[in-house]
């Protein structure tokens, strides 16, 4: 299988460990990733400003993937939702004609034939291969699904259950690890309103860190750069803001999968994680 890797804006600049581990794990699974330099912003922030502009910016990427005859794989859940929603909106012929007119000065055109998949979904589709290849890792993992990996469910059809999501935890189990249950598992990270009201946003993040600690998890696992910025990058800030300590390592799902597949931690970008993962790696015998 071959995909056009859609990096988006945040992953290649702020969460390089996610990109490294995704590339390394996909390579190990025999999945080819193609880099396309023309890809740009997915359009997500523009949905709040002007719907027409959002659709055009998103569709531009779909058109580029179509020119390259490749399905898209995203790492950011917001990119995934944004591109998929635009793809579906363009099933309407009138919308498609209008957006293509916006794209015509660029010499681009989207016919509607591109599939968009989240990297975690691709991992889930390869779960049996992962299970066979994995050396069991005995850790208690708190899975964080975030929002746009599973919602709105109408764009993901039957892939997940938005009220009782399971795909990440099934992957965790395929690695021999134990998914722990914790209060308010589906809660949003709060990243979307960090620029609107920092205090509210950080409190949303803190709530989950609190529940994850209560459940006795060794680490959190997630699939979106924004969620990671909240739980990993901002964890120290939350600790000082609320005068508490969490020290919860936060891994991207491909980092955890990569460890089980025997990929060296350095190739998974684990050194870039903000909350130290040394103890965690030590417990795995590295």
């Amino acid at each position: 299988m071959k995909y056009a890797l859609f990096l988006g804006c945040t992953v290649p600049v702020r969460t390089m460990g996610y990109e490294m581990s995704t590339r390394a794990v996909m390579n190990k699974l025999g999945i080819d990733l193609v880099d396309i330099k023309e890809f740009g912003c997915c359009g997500f922030p523009l949905e709040s400003i002007d719907h027409d502009t959002y659709l055009s910016v998103a569709a531009r990427n779909l058109a580029i993937a179509e020119e390259n005859r490749l399905p898209i794989m995203t790492m950011c859940s917001a990119c995934n939702g944004s591109l998929l929603k635009a793809h579906m909106a363009m099933n309407d012929e009138k919308v498609k004609a209008h957006i293509n007119e916006n794209l015509s000065p660029l010499g681009r055109h989207y016919n509607g034939g591109i599939s968009v998949k989240h990297a975690a979904r691709v991992l889930y589709e390869n779960i049996e291969t992962i299970r066979e290849m994995a050396t069991p890792i005995h850790l208690k993992i708190a899975a964080h699904y975030g929002c746009h990996y599973i919602k709105p469910s109408e764009i993901y059809e039957d892939f997940e259950d938005p009220e009782v999501p399971y795909t990440i935890e099934e992957i965790v189990m395929a690695l021999g690890a134990e998914p722990v249950q914790y209060e308010n598992k589906k809660q949003c990270c709060g990243g979307a309103i960090l620029g609107i009201d920092e205090a509210v946003s950080l409190e949303m993040t803190k709530e989950k860190l609190h529940h994850v600690r209560e459940a006795g998890a060794d680490a959190m696992v997630l699939v979106c750069p924004f969620c990671d910025i909240m739980y990993d990058v901002n964890q120290r800030r939350i600790e000082s803001h609320f005068n508490d300590t969490y020290g919860i390592p936060v891994l991207f799902l491909p980092q955890l999968v990569g460890l089980a597949l025997g990929i060296p931690p350095d190739e998974l970008g684990l050194r870039l994680n903000r909350v130290p993962v040394r103890k965690l790696l030590k417990s795995l015998g590295d």
């Binding site: 945040t10 290649p12 660029l106 709105p152 949003c188 979307a192």
Partner: protein, 167 residues
Amino acid sequence: MEKKEPIDMNDLDPSFKYEIASQHGGEHIMRCVQCATCSSGCPVASISEKFNPRRIIRMAILGLKERVIKEDFVWYCAACYTCSERCPQDVRIPDLMSAIRNIATKEGHIHPAYKEQGRLIGNMGRLYEVTDFENERREKLGLPKIEGKNEEIESIYTKTGIKKVIT
């Protein structure tokens, strides 16, 4: 918590709900029965009294346009889609909030955080600048170089007319 003052009928714009309903995402506003399924499961509302989706919908239907588009509460929706999955009337609240934000933007009340994001994306084609510094770092980590500026998005802005709102 906002001050509880009686609503002055002269402040109401009864056409506001139709304006919202004619925007993409706002089509189902009049279906709302004020059941509060949205606000009771909302992760933002559980922390801040400032955001309450049910109240915003009620205010919009009543026609309190000025307050809805000028105050910043409509920008507090995290678009987590929790309410959207549960709403018995399929009001599609996050899309509805986007529709109201689109109207607010058109009337000059875009939130500064979004204005800045829109400006950056228009200037560079992406939200974060990729300089030699980032590319050198990427190279050290074995990651491919990212091309800098992307002019196609600026050209889309010109075509859709959003350029003047953001710059």
